[in-house]
């Protein structure tokens, strides 16, 4: 069964229709890369998957469970907040601008979810957090605050923070777009190891074509709120079927 299933998702902000019937399936352990022009709805799609934004219509389920909604009288009704929060906890998210908690150390950031959401005893949570920081190569920075870390280090802490909740699915919203070019590699390396060693199910919005070729099982090109084409990265990037895809790829390669 699909780990993530998005069926005919629609979302509009006022008069702007951002998602116009997107559908997407991601199997367990798969890595799917979403590419597309700015404003095409990629980020909105990720935010709808963990219900940071409610859908207007369509349905999204993770591991067979609807996110943010429940069946009611043949339709869907929005879940209550604790239920939404519970489902979100199983979906990790990494943001373009890291969004680390500035008042907590790297260790505190990683332990935040387990301690405050799951009620894990602090000592145990911090032990696990140390192991995760080690995983992303930052065990030496455990006591540092985000302001004392480089962008690449902050993003690696953010990945560890999301992993601490032992998510079934990880969403990456342009995780390297806010980084200086020389720091992009270290973040992509961590993401690659998640895919290869942990077999994490991942949906990654990115412009890093090299990463996509390397790790992705599938590439999805989104334009104007719809999936224009999808397939193996080699096919989408080397032999795109649509003019729009060719145009876009030409622009990001230039």
């Amino acid at each position: 069964m699909a780990m993530l299933s998005v069926v005919d998702a629609h979302k509009r902000y006022g008069r702007v229709e951002v998602l116009r019937g997107i559908s997407l399936e991601v199997a367990k352990g798969q890595v799917v890369v979403i590419v597309g022009p700015s404003g095409s709805g990629k980020s909105t799609l990720l935010r709808c998957i963990n219900h940071l934004e409610p859908l207007d219509s369509g349905r999204i389920s993770v591991d067979g469970e609807l996110v943010g909604y429940r069946e009611k009288d043949g339709g869907l009704a929005e879940d209550r907040e604790p239920e939404i929060a519970r489902k979100r906890a199983a979906i990790g998210m990494v943001f373009q601008r890291f969004n680390l908690f500035p008042h907590l150390t790297a260790l505190g950031n990683v332990a935040a979810g387990p301690v405050w959401v799951k009620g894990t005893p602090r000592e145990k949570a911090e032990g696990e957090a140390k192991a995760l920081l080690d995983r992303v190569g930052l065990s030496a920075k455990a006591e540092n605050y985000p302001s004392q870390l480089s962008g690449g280090q902050q993003q690696r802490v953010a990945i560890a923070r999301a992993l601490a909740m032992q998510p079934k699915l990880m969403l990456f919203d342009e995780p390297t777009s806010a980084l200086d070019p020389e720091l992009v590699g270290e973040v992509l390396e961590v993401m690659k190891s998640l895919a290869r060693e942990m077999h994490m199910t991942m949906v990654v919005v990115t412009h890093e074509i090299g990463f996509a070729r390397d790790v992705a099982d599938r590439a999805v090109f989104v334009d104007e709120g719809r999936v224009l084409e999808e397939g193996p990265p080699s096919q989408v990037f080397d032999a795109p079927q649509h003019e729009r895809t060719r145009e876009f790829l030409g622009m990001i390669r230039a």
């Binding site: 935010r47 963990n50 940071l52 907040e81 604790p82 929060a85 519970r86 979100r88 906890a89 199983a90 979906i91 990790g92 998210m93 943001f95 601008r97 969004n99 680390l100 908690f101 500035p102 008042h103 907590l104 935040a112 979810g113 405050w116 959401v117 799951k118 605050y145 985000p146 302001s147 004392q148 953010a158 923070r161 999301a162 909740m165």
Partner: protein, 257 residues
Amino acid sequence: MLAILLAIDFKPDIVWKFLFDDVIIEGAWVTLQVSVVAMLIGVVFGGGFALMKVSRNPVFRGAAGFYVWFFRGTPALLQLLILYFGLPQVIDNQQFTNELTAFRAAIIAFGINEGAYMTEIVRAGILSVDTGQMDAAKSLGMTQMRAMRRVVLPQAMRVVVPPTGNEFISMLKNSSLAFTIGLVELLGAAKLIYAVNFRFMELLVVAAIWYLAFTTIFSVLQGEVERLLAVGDRERPRTFISRTIELLSGKRGTEMV
């Protein structure tokens, strides 16, 4: 010119004599108590109503909006008079009237009034925190309330403290309004004494010295609180006390947190 200077009638020894006079000390103590307790009420009300104002529930938002509108929109003195003279007339209950001393009325009225200002200050603090913080907290599975308490409010505090210090200093001074309902606070005590001895200037100087002493002490404390809250900054601001400690312990230079 010289004649005017020679004719100056100001006796510093009278200032000195009354600076620690029992009535003045008593008044200063009343001012301090009213200000501190009313400020605490203001902070609690401000926190609560600010949360209501940013909530998605329209009833909460409306109630908080009305509170701010009314208590910020009328003079504090008017609210004090309503509470102390108006309500006992309307309620007409002997026990209520007896229990409502001038001291209590001042604390309650100033506290509720302050709450309206604190509501806006706390709300501004909450709005100053990047929305990405709420997104990140929610994506970890925190509910709105938990994210507010653990992630947003601790960061909002940094923005809230400086104007709160301002509010407290205003409170110290404006509490002198309570003399209108017969509460002998610091300025009131000075007035009572100069009404008898006619040494207006000396007694006013005495009151000024006490107000300045209070505001100075609280400004220093505020600096310390701001320093504590600067956790996570590359460089914590240094304060009078932290610098003194550095100087005494021989440690210099910037401290990395």
